[in-house]
């Protein structure tokens, strides 16, 4: 653990770090067992930076996102915002939630069907007692690309298209003038044609307002489309991270390689089989070893690391911007990693 801590102290993103997870652990009780949903994560999001968090269903992405938002308390480790450890007293937390806003995945589920667009967007500003409500709502709708804004004030969600509903959800977050958006699968329930429009909106918000974003997704194309950096999560831990161009064109962790290989049109597929990973039973050694194609194919044995794969724990990756992977086999080709 001390090594991790030391590395975490040495965080150096090219942009100043705004939001950070340090050695974060989040556990749940699940049928009498401990589910280690987030099991040691270091992650830093710089000011004006867009980071994509990718990984398969159940790997802990949403739990990590909720913990960064202060909606879930870490079992150990800490969340830091602007250099300060998150304060969980209600008043401080309320102020924090203005800075870091959640954008939910399903616009149908997160909008109240009986609330007009105006009421939906005005809700946050009212809770926080902001002045000039009408002005705030107008600006937020316009920034979210619903123009002219007053034409949308009195509409109900069912009168909007899926893309427009997602924009209303984004406007609701923008109304509080946040510094960071945490978007959980922002386009998963949207049509292909609308998807690009919403992603372009996130990029525009970053350019115009300097917003940072953590985008949670299992869609690698989305990361390629909008993120500066990507962090790949497997069973509660980040197993590879770095600049998008590097990680997604030359992935080094076998899990990232498998994820990339199942994209349509990739030449050789590695379709992982086996049961979906279970956070109440995290395997010893490398947590991916039971499904790892590099170990199964004998390549790890050839390189003499198969024993380590099965029994030696990997170090928790520090929150550095450079490309890195937590894998005994990958470490051979990059000494010191």
């Amino acid at each position: 653990m001390t090594e991790t801590q030391a590395a975490a102290e040495a965080v150096s993103t090219t942009r100043p770090t705004l939001l950070e997870a340090r050695d974060l652990h989040v556990e749940f009780a699940s049928r009498g067992r401990r589910a280690r949903a987030v099991d040691g994560v270091n992650l830093a999001i710089g000011a004006g930076e867009i980071v994509a968090l990718v990984g398969e269903s159940g790997c802990g992405k949403t739990t990590l996102a909720r913990t960064l938002l202060g909606l879930e308390r870490p079992t150990s480790g800490e969340v830091r915002y602007g250099g300060n450890v998150l304060d969980y007293r209600s008043k401080a937390l309320k102020a924090y939630r203005r800075q870091v806003q959640l954008v939910l995945q399903d616009p149908m589920g997160s909008l109240n069907p009986r609330q007009t667009v105006y009421e939906a967007v005005a809700e946050g500003p009212r809770i926080h007692g902001l002045p000039d409500e009408r002005e705030v709502v107008t600006t937020a709708l316009s920034r979210a690309g619903l123009r002219p804004p007053d034409r949308f004030f009195l509409r109900y969600p069912h009168e909007l298209s899926g893309g427009q509903r997602q924009r209303v959800v984004i406007a609701g977050a923008l109304a509080l003038d946040p510094k960071v958006l945490i978007a959980d699968e922002p386009v998963a329930s949207l049509d292909a044609s609308v998807r690009g429009e919403i992603l372009a909106l996130l990029l525009r918000l970053r350019a115009d307002l300097g917003l940072s974003a953590l985008v949670v997704t299992h869609d690698l194309g989305l990361a390629w489309n909008i993120a500066d950096r990507v962090a790949v999560m497997y069973l509660g831990r980040i197993v590879e991270s770095g600049p998008v161009e590097q990680v997604l064109t030359a992935p080094r962790h076998p899990y990232t390689q498998a994820l990339m290989s199942v994209l349509p049109e990739s030449p050789e597929r590695v379709v992982l089989t086996g049961e979906p990973p279970d956070p109440t039973r995290i395997p010893g050694g490398c947590r991916f070893h039971a499904r790892c194609q590099v170990l199964a194919s004998g390549k790890a044995a050839e390189a003499g690391v198969d024993g380590k794969c099965r029994s030696e724990l990997l170090q928790i990756l520090p929150a550095v911007p450079e490309a890195q992977a937590a894998c005994h086999y990958a470490a051979l080709s990059q000494p010191g990693a």
Binding site: S161, A192, R195, N225, L248, P264, V271
Partner: protein
């Protein structure tokens, strides 16, 4: 010979405020053992078309045109014959249906049900068949005893496919079989569907809004917009070199990771999908079309030839030929 032949098929839903023309004159055909992909955004009529093929639409829907399955007209078939066709010849895996499994019955019993109901097997034989089917979709036979909540989303989707295969149909219609599944599970389900087509000679109609997924599984692709097919052709050609501007927008929406052109440059399509009750005049796509000409607002477009085995409903295609 074609297994399925659609000739000028139309579907109109009648609702309190008027008529909704959901499918407007679709002609397509599917050869035995082939896979056809149907793409288009939500509301373009894909599911309506799929349900029309097996007459699963609500009573207030009016269907026109001809649908020939193995030369027999589905629309004029007697009900008894229709029911037999639904089990023995063609079956459908519905959009989001994995949520529709009965939560309090073991999945094995649910898979066996059509066999027992249609007297196609005695209980013992049905149990054996269930084990075979589960294996065919990549689940161990003991999973027959599981309840739906004990399975992951991908495993439930496999159970749905096993149900569709139960009576050995020749045609499977899969409506968005992988939407909302994560990438690895999607890959597992798509691999399974491809095997069924390649190794068991089953014909497939697959519906999705993701052109890259369809291009991966299907030989032919039809792109629908506002109830019409606007482009049709071999799937790789339609995906990589679309002739209709709407197909081009769909193809660009899912970037190729590693392609510098799409890096930090997501591509979408502005504007809203058309309201079927108030369709634009001329080419229905003209209000959103990036390459529209003045005449597009008034002239009638139809599927014109657009290269070998290809058609597209765009004035630019007609000019080129």
């Amino acid at each position: 010979m074609s297994l399925l032949e659609l000739d000028d098929v139309s579907v109109i839903y009648r609702i309190a405020s008027g008529e909704v023309p959901a499918v407007r004159g679709v002609s397509l055909s599917l050869d035995s053992g082939a896979a056809l992909g149907v793409a288009g955004e939500s509301g373009s009529g894909k599911s309506t078309l799929a349900m029309a093929l097996l007459r699963l639409l609500p009573r207030d829907a009016r269907v026109g045109g001809r649908i020939l399955l193995d030369g027999e007209d589905v629309l004029t078939m007697k009900w008894g014959r229709m029911r037999a066709v639904r089990w023995a010849e063609a079956s459908i895996v519905f959009q989001g249906a994995q949520h529709g499994l009965n939560p309090v019955r073991r999945v094995g019993d649910q898979i066996a049900e059509p066999l027992l109901v249609h007297n196609l097997a005695k209980p013992d034989a049905a149990r054996k068949r269930v084990a075979e089917l589960l294996e065919q979709v990549g689940l161990p036979a003991w999973r027959a005893r599981s309840y739906p909540h004990e399975l992951s989303g991908g495993q439930r989707q496999r159970v749905m496919i096993a149900m569709a295969l139960a009576c050995s149909p020749r045609l499977i219609i899969a409506d968005e079989p992988t939407t909302a599944l994560d990438v690895m599970v999607q890959a597992q389900v798509l691999t399974l569907i491809k095997e069924l087509v390649a190794e068991h000679g089953i014909s497939l109609i697959m519906i999705s809004h993701d052109l890259s997924v369809l291009a991966d599984v299907c030989d032919q692709l039809a792109v629908m917009y506002a109830g019409r097919v606007v482009e049709h052709g071999p799937s790789h050609e339609v995906f990589h070199d679309a002739r209709h501007p709407y197909s081009r927008a769909l193809a660009a929406a899912f970037p190729t990771v590693g392609d510098p052109v799409s890096r930090l440059a997501p591509k979408g399509l502005g504007g809203d999908p058309p309201d079927p009750m108030q369709l634009p005049t001329g080419c229905s796509f003209h209000p959103r079309c990036p390459v529209a000409l003045d005449e597009c607002a008034t002239m009638d477009v139809e599927l014109w030839a657009a290269g070998a085995g290809r058609t597209a409903a765009c004035v630019h295609v007609q000019e080129a030929s």
